[in-house]
Symmetry: C2
Subunit: 246 residues, 2 copies
């Protein structure tokens, strides 16, 4: 796709903004101005505009000409589609890996799994723990894709992954039990790959991906203004118009 070029001003701003959006420090729906951002980083509007355009294409910003730029709402229907894509791809890639892998790859994988166990046994504060675990979680999946020789598949997927990533930081607010379940899933997934148990593998991958998503209803209701449904109906009535005529 696109090579990582040397860190330019645009890229720096892009990275910082993206991190803030993904960590919900810039909450969905909030306004974000070019001029203000430029002033904050003490640069001109041009690189800020570049960064905004990139974030718009990833679906993280919504630029309304002559009106303003806003952090996009989290589209749950879009996340469902994204998860479907990942489910299908991951089942195929991991299946390929199970077919082709040899035991020489065991060590690298076990290393990451041990790291995750150590994290869970540590006494890190919830927020720090979840951040560290998400990183290690991604490393685990990256590793398996790489072992299967399908790094680019992972890379492609990441270009549409931003929405899901943001949703996940919303979920993982220190729920150590969830992280524990993810870790157990990782163990199982690797065991099934090693043992070439294709059916159980596919089933566990699906479960692993949708687990957090399906259990998200309650937490979504806590911040309904962050979310939107593209296909279906919003979870609460927009209150700007009167509905008495109905």
């Amino acid at each position: 796709m696109y090579l990582n070029r040397r860190p330019g001003t645009s890229e720096t701003v892009y990275d910082k903004l993206k991190e803030q959006i993904l960590h919900l420090e810039l909450p969905p729906g909030s306004a974000i101005s070019e001029i203000e951002t430029a002033a904050r980083y003490e640069i001109s509007r041009t690189p800020v505009r570049d960064a905004f355009k990139m974030l718009e294409r990833e679906g993280l910003l919504e630029i309304r000409p002559h009106i303003g730029t806003f952090v996009s709402l989290i589209d749950l229907d879009m996340i469902a589609d994204t998860l479907y894509i990942r489910e299908v791809l991951e089942q195929a890639v991991f299946r390929d890996l199970a077919t082709s892998h040899d035991n020489s790859q065991e060590f690298a994988v076990r290393l990451i799994l041990q790291q995750q166990k150590d994290l869970l046994d540590s006494d890190l504060p919830p927020e720090e723990l979840s951040r560290a675990f998400v990183i290690s979680d991604n490393a685990f999946h990256d590793m398996l894709y790489e072992l299967a020789g399908k790094q680019n598949v992972m890379r492609y997927w990441q270009t549409i992954n931003s929405q899901y990533e943001r949703f996940r930081t919303f979920l993982n607010l220190g729920e150590r039990d969830n992280l524990q379940r993810l870790y157990q899933d990782h163990i199982l997934i690797w065991d099934y790959i090693s043992g070439r148990e294709y059916n159980r593998l596919a089933e566990r991958i699906s479960h692993h991906l949708y687990d957090g998503f399906n259990a998200s209803a309650e937490v979504v209701y806590k911040c309904p203004e962050y979310f939107v449904y593209t296909k279906g109906y919003p979870i609460h009535q927009i209150t700007t118009t009167d509905v008495s005529s109905e």
Copy 2:
């Protein structure tokens, strides 16, 4: 992802440039200047730069700061990965469609297939024929994704599809036989969906996608300077350096 906004200057330039790149009117490797492009469309550099940045993120342009901007080479390894992704996704989506569909959808699909038959029976010049057929081909696949309720999956895929699209215009230079085979595949694919013949369906999808790609070696050799391999080795030695020391 990102909504289609009203046609702005940037988007217009983007569309025109993309079409030229995809149709190889701007050949891979050729230089393309911001100033020159701006002059050609009688606009300033700013919207041109926006368009360039977008095309860069799609992998169609390569912007080398302070050196120049070039139409990217066609990366055959990347295309292979893209095809893999499409193969996996399409097998899953079409399988879902086969499971859920009812006969009310028959008419719309048959309409497109009839259109393709008419195209093949017509006496259009090769280039026009292949262009029209590619459009109808995409419509066929779009339709099936839509019937399966997975429009977004198709949309996601299209964001990484540009490379393959460009490669396909390179292949389809009036090879009526190839188009005939594609049409036959479409007939079979729809028959297998209707008949819920899952295994044959998956097999035919793979065959359908890789058919043209695998038969491409000879045509690639005709324009080796258009192509590049990311993972493997180039198809011909770069002649800028002497290899006598080996």
